[in-house]
Amino acid sequence: MNVQAWTFVMVGLSFALYIGVAIWARAGSTGEFYVAGGKVSPLTNGLATAADWMSAASFISMAGIISFMGRDGSVYLMGWTGGYVLLALLLAPYLRKFGKYTVPDFVGDRYYSQIARVVAVVCAIFVSFTYVAGQMRGVGIVFSRFLDVGINEGVLIGMAIVFFYAVLGGMKGITYTQVAQYCVLIFAFMVPAIYISIMITGQPVPQLGFGSTLADGSGVYLLERLDGLSQQLGFAAYTAGGKSTQDLFFITAALMVGTAGLPHVLVRFYTVPKVSGARSSAGWALLFIALLYTTAPAVAAFARTNLLSVIPEIAYTDVPEWFSKWESTGLIKFDDKNGDGHIQYTGPASDVENELTIDRDIMVLANPEIAQLPAWVVGLVAAGGLAAALSTAAGLLLVISSAVAHDLLKSTFRPNITDKGELLVARIAAGLAVCVAGYFGINPPGFVAQVVAFAFGLAAASFFPVILLGIFWKRANDRGAIAGMISGIGFTAGYIVYFKFMNPELNSAAHWLFGISPEGIGTFGMMINFAVAISVSLLTPPPPAAVQELVEEIRLPDHIGPAHELSA
C-alpha cells in the first residue's frame, strides 16, 4: 500500500473510534454536558487534559519551530509545561472545591458582580475563538497534503466530526474521545521519533539519543555535528541562543501564566470528583504532556540534522519525492537565484544567497518521509495531527458554548430557564461555534499563528491574577478585579496591536518597552493587573463577610464546610 492508502486507513480507523466513543458517552443533563457530571477519574481526566491541551501547535508546529530556533525554542518547552505547576499548586484544587461549571462562574461569585462575570465571559470567548481557528487550519493542512482533498473540504470534514461529538456528548463525550485521541497522538508522535533516533544515533530513547553520539561510527555527538553543520551554512550554532535574556524570561513567563489561565484547561479540573483528584489529575496531565514535550526537542534536532545534511547543494533535479510534494502545497519554495540548478540553503552569516524557504509547520509531518520511514508511519502521523487538532478544538468549543448558555443566558439574563432549555441552548451554541470556527479555518486571517501565541499573553494578563488573588487574598474585591482585568488585558492587547498591526516596522528590540517583544508582554500586563487590582481593592470597601467565608472554605480539603456538590 502507498502513503495515501495508509493515510486513509489510519485516519478512517481513528475517526470511527472517536464516533463510537461519542455515541457510547452521550450527555443527558447540563451537569454532564458542562463537566461530565463531575465523575471523571483523575487518571482519565489527566489523559483528556493532555489531549485537550496539546493542540495542532504542539503536535505539528512546535518541533518545527524549535528546529529552526535552536536553544531559543526552549521558551515553548518550558512555558507550555511550567504552567501546569502553577495550575496544580495555585489554581486547580481551589476551583474544584468551589465547584460549579465554568471559570466566569468563579469570577462572578467570588467578586459578587455581574460586570466581573461578563468581563470574564468576553475574555474567555475571545481567547477560545483565536485558538480554535488555528486548530481548524491544522486540520486543513493535514487533509490537503495527505489525502488530496482541498483545504476547504478538509475543514468541512473536521467540522462535521467535531460537531457530532461535541454537540451530542458535551463534556462527557469530549472527555472520553480525548482519551482515545491522546493514545492516537502520542503513538503517532513516538513511533517516528524512536525510528529516527535509532537511525541517527542507535539509541531507541529519543530523549537520550538527542545527547548521544552519531551512529556513523565517527564518535561525534549529534549536537556537535548539528552546531557544525549550522555554522558551516551561516546559521547560528543550534545550542546557542539568539534572543536577549530578558525577552526569553518574559516570553517564558507569559506562556506559563497563560497556560494556567486558559479557560479550556481550567474547566477540565471541575470534572473530577474531589479536590485531591484535581491535584493528582494535574500531575497525570503533565506526565502525559511531558512525554511529548521531552521528545519534541529531540525530534527537532534530528529533523534539522537530516535537513541540513540532505538539502544544501543538491541538484534541483535530484530532490527526493517528499520535497516535490510539499513544494506543490506551497509550503516549500525554491527560487534558483544564481541559476546553477542547485539548491543553496544558507543562513544570514553566509556569503551565498539563500534560495530556499521552508514553512516551519511542515517539519513534523515531513520528518518521517525525510527519514524514509515506511508508509504506514507517515499515515499514522497524519492521524495523530488530526487527533491533536480535533481534541483541542472540541474542548474550546465547549468553553464557548458554556460561556453563552451558562454564563450569559442562565447566570446573567434568564436565571429561571429550565435545565432542558439550557442544554438545548448549549448545544445550539456549540453548533454555531463549530460553524464560525470552520469559517476561520477556510478563510484564515493571515495572522492566526501569531494570534494564537498572543492568546496566552491575553489569558495571562486577564484571568490568572484575578483567580489567584480571589483564592489567596480575601481582601480582593469586585472593583479591584474588574479594574485589574480591564487594565491588564487592555494594556497587553494595545501593545500587541501597536507593534503587530499598526506599526509593524517599529517591531524591533530598539523600540520595545524594556526590550520585551509583543510575545512576552503578557507578563508585564499580568503585573499591571496585579498592581491595579491590589491598589483599587485597598482603596475601596472590603468584600462582604459571606464572600470572605467562601474564600476560607475553598482553601480547606474535601467535605469541609458546606458541600458544593454537582447536581448531575
Binding site: 526552549s74 518550558m78 505547576v85 499548586l89 530523549q207 538527542f210 555527538y221 535574556t245 503533565l286 480539603p557
Partner: protein, 89 residues
C-alpha cells in the same frame, strides 16, 4: 472545627507552596535562562547542562514538583481530617 486548625492547615499549604515554587523558578528561569551560559560549561554526554535544563531537565522537574505536592497535601489532608474527629476538638 476550630479556626486555629484551619489556619494551621492553610499555613502548612503555604509553606509547601513557597518551597516548591522556589524550586520551580530555579530549574526553569534559573538554570534554563538566567545561568544557562555558565551551566553550559558543564557537559553531560552531548549536552551542555544549561541546554539540557532548558530543553529536558526543567520538564522532568515540573512533573516531580507536582507529584511531590500531591503527596504532601494528601498527607496534610489526612492529618487534618483525623484531628477533626478527635473528641473535644
Amino acid at each position: 472545627m476550630s479556626r486555629d486548625r484551619r489556619h494551621a492547615y492553610w499555613r502548612t499549604n503555604l509553606r509547601y507552596l513557597t518551597v516548591l515554587l522556589f524550586i520551580w523558578f530555579a530549574v526553569s528561569f534559573g538554570c534554563g535562562i538566567l545561568f544557562v551560559e555558565q551551566l553550559d560549561q558543564i557537559r553531560i554526554g552531548g549536552f551542555g547542562l544549561g541546554f539540557w535544563f532548558a530543553q529536558q531537565g526543567s520538564i522532568y522537574c515540573f512533573v516531580l514538583l507536582i507529584l511531590a505536592y500531591v503527596w504532601l497535601m494528601n498527607r496534610a489532608d489526612k492529618k487534618f481530617e483525623s484531628r477533626k474527629q478527635e473528641p473535644g476538638v
